[in-house]
Amino acid sequence: MIPIELLIAQTINGLVYASILFLVSSGLTMIYGIMNILNLAHGSLYMLGAYFAITIIMKLAGGSPWGYLAAFILAPTAVMAVGAAIEVGLLKPIYGKPEEYQLLLTFGLILIFDEVVKLIWGPAYINFPNPGRFLGSIEVAGFEFPVYRLLLIALGFSVAWLLWFLLSKTTLGKKMRAAAADREIVSALGVSVPLLFTGAFMLGSFLSGLGGVAAGPLYTASPGMGIDIIVNSFAVIVIGGMGSILGALVGSLIVGLTRAYAIVIYPAIELALVYLIMVIVLLVRPVGLFGKPEEVRR
């Protein structure tokens, strides 16, 4: 039997990882849902978030608590700017071309970003202290809960709620979803679809960068972290259903918790298990748990 302490610790770890996965995969799935673009370099934006945070926290703020606070705002904003440049400069020219092109182009971006990170920050893993030391932990029923981790879990769920609110309760969100359904009708209504696309892409980039800032101090930063998270995010959105925010949340929880438990029960199959779940979901329900089946009309 697994001791209860370990079980609780792994549940917390699993939820933290799920939170970070959600920050990344919600943007990925939203961009796909609205723009029909699968940005393979979405994980690279997460990586950039982590590295920007390193520079802000360690170089500019000397490791002070304010550095962390600044990083959580500035790093995702910088990533958002990078995202805007990608969408406007590289993706706009290939809208309407075969889907393979966007996959190949964003694949090229992964290679570029990995090398750029190696050029600027070096190829080695960078360990930087996580802000947990400023926040301490709280005790509930005899168990210690690190505050930083609890905050990250809260962040994940808050973002989930905010996204749901944005997409289903605000006019902007309704326009975005309408754009996903029918571009021509939306532009006929006087909404600028290109602007909407850029906006959605920037929001997704911001969230991915935010995930990177949160993850950097926890898991160390390395040039391979982008591809690691993107592959896991694929699993998440495939399990949850592409284009569905709720699906991304549930998928993140499934993947996050599965990995956390598997690593203490049988570490060798930790990663394999995630792909196994993904394959099973695809076989039983190809559109994912919360995806909408498409049907040929008329």
């Binding site: 049907e295 040929v296 009309r297 008329r298």
Partner: protein, 248 residues
């Protein structure tokens, strides 16, 4: 006479929209049956249901006496049911000749063959020539469909389906967007399918002149239901048809 195609109480709803709502009909062998009706009447959905592209919510489809409800298009083709599309559905990157060859390989169960090159099978080449000559496309065999006129593309679509040696063909708006001359040619082709080649034809068409000229029977659909059926001259006289269809 046993009907070649029969449809019994077929239903297909898309959410609130009752695209096909309890349609029953029969198509006799070697006859031409046209389905008319305003846009959104459910005509194309009906063709999609009969040809296996989508599955009905309820009801049955029979083809040559067999219950084929829910069969895939590929399986239906093997039983002798071919179909053409509203927007001509051909292989744009293959030559006209290869468009027909691919169909001939398939119907000869040689689509996966590795025994010879695809362009050196004598019997396929002879049959391809015969089909293309029948549709006046032999001279254009080395062109790709993108280089053809709209009318020729639609003819190629029909030629591909005809190469499958079908017992019945479903045509979706065969004359849409055609010039008067192209329409004339297509009308002759469809008549030829029935009269010389013995193919049963079920088609959806907007041009009433075409419909009245070629059809043995006309079926009028409105909001997913059949509201009238009969010989062309009978349909011309039905007041209800004029109301829904011509807006009179």
């Amino acid at each position: 006479m046993k009907p070649e195609i029969s449809v019994v109480d077929l239903r297909k709803y898309f959410g609130e929209v009752k695209a096909v709502d309890g349609v029953s009909l029969e198509v006799n062998p070697k006859s031409i049956v046209s389905i008319i009706g305003p846009n959104g009447a459910g005509k194309t959905t009906l063709l999609n249901l009969v040809s296996g592209l989508i599955k009905p919510d309820s009801g049955r489809v029979y083809f040559r006496g067999r219950d084929v409800t829910g069969w895939s298009p590929a399986k239906l083709v093997k039983l002798g049911l071919a179909r053409c599309f509203q927007i001509s559905n051909v292989y744009d990157t293959l030559t006209v000749l290869d468009n027909v060859r691919a169909a001939l390989h398939s119907v000869r169960r040689a689509a996966f063959s590795l025994k010879s090159t695809y362009y050196s099978i004598q019997s396929v080449n002879e049959k391809a020539k015969e089909v293309l000559e029948l549709f006046n496309l032999w001279d254009k065999r080395e062109k790709t469909p993108t280089e053809l006129s709209h009318g020729d593309r639609k003819l190629l679509d029909i030629a591909i389906s005809y190469a499958l040696a079908p017992k019945a063909m479903l045509l979706d708006e065969p004359t849409a967007g055609m010039s008067i001359r192209e329409k004339r040619r297509t009308v002759d082709v469809i008549k030829m399918l029935r009269d010389k080649l013995g193919v049963t034809v079920m088609l959806v068409e907007h041009d009433l002149d075409v419909v009245y000229e070629i059809s043995d029977e006309v079926i009028v659909m409105h909001e997913g239901k059949v509201i009238a059926r009969g010989k062309p001259e009978e349909i011309k006289r039905v007041q209800a048809v004029r109301e829904v269809y011509l807006g009179e």
